[in-house]
């Protein structure tokens, strides 16, 4: 257990609504990541952070933004949710060289 929590765990929202997902870690890790998981695609990187206020885009960043104002929290925001953003979202931290630990995930449904 790498001390990662995600909230909410489940969310149903409507198209066009803003949504924020939260990832919280208790072990002061520098690197944090947001992935989405869809059938047939494995996990795809949305955004990542390499320090407080230091973030960058991953391979599927369109429609998403992130913020990291404290080491322990990494927020993912969908400014205007679309049905194509229905997915399971995972947060991860880099625990050491060549290791990542994942949170329990957030299942998001956009109607």
């Amino acid at each position: 257990d790498a001390g990662i929590t995600q909230s909410p765990r489940h969310k149903v929202t409507e198209t066009g609504t803003p949504v924020t997902l939260r990832c919280h870690q208790t072990e002061n890790h520098r690197y944090m990541y947001w992935y989405r998981q869809d059938p047939g695609h494995g996990l795809r990187l949305i955004h990542y952070s390499y320090g407080v206020k230091d973030t960058d885009k991953g391979e599927v960043s369109d429609g998403y933004s992130v913020s990291r104002s404290k080491t322990e929290d990494f927020l993912l925001t969908l400014e205007s949710a679309t049905s194509s953003q229905t997915s399971v979202y995972f947060c991860a931290i880099r625990g050491g060289a060549d290791t990542q630990y994942f949170g329990p995930g957030t299942r998001l449904t956009v109607l």
Binding site: G40, H41, Y50, G58, E59, D98, Q100
Partner: protein, 113 residues
């Protein structure tokens, strides 16, 4: 963009059989990680291989990293029903990649009693 092709996508076998999952790329990775994921949970790291030609064993699971560090395989001997789950490979490019991972599509393994 680096890609990882994982095969097969689905695997359905009987308890006691052996199986191999493959992960292939045209890109070189500094390390290759294998994860297992249960329904409703996040992926859990099984092993990381970092040296070309490296072989690691975890009980009945054997992981191999290709000599050129472009491919990897997971072999399970005498599969058990408890091995059922989603297996994912993931490669890290290294250098200034900040630990970013590229995942394969995953292999859904079902082991029947």
């Amino acid at each position: 963009t680096q890609l990882l092709e994982q095969s097969p996508q689905f695997l359905s076998i009987q308890e006691g059989e052996n199986l191999t999952v493959y992960c292939n790329s045209s890109s070189v990775f500094s390390s290759l990680q294998w994860y297992r994921q249960e329904p409703g949970e996040g992926p859990v790291l099984l092993v990381t291989v970092v040296t070309g030609g490296e072989v690691k064993k975890l009980k009945r699971l054997t992981f191999q990293f290709g000599d050129a560090r472009k491919d990897s395989s997971l072999h399970i001997t005498a599969a058990q029903t408890g091995d059922t789950g989603l297996y994912l490979c993931a490669g890290e490019a290294g250098g200034t990649s900040y630990g970013k991972l590229t995942f394969g599509q995953g292999t859904i393994l079902t082991v029947h009693p």
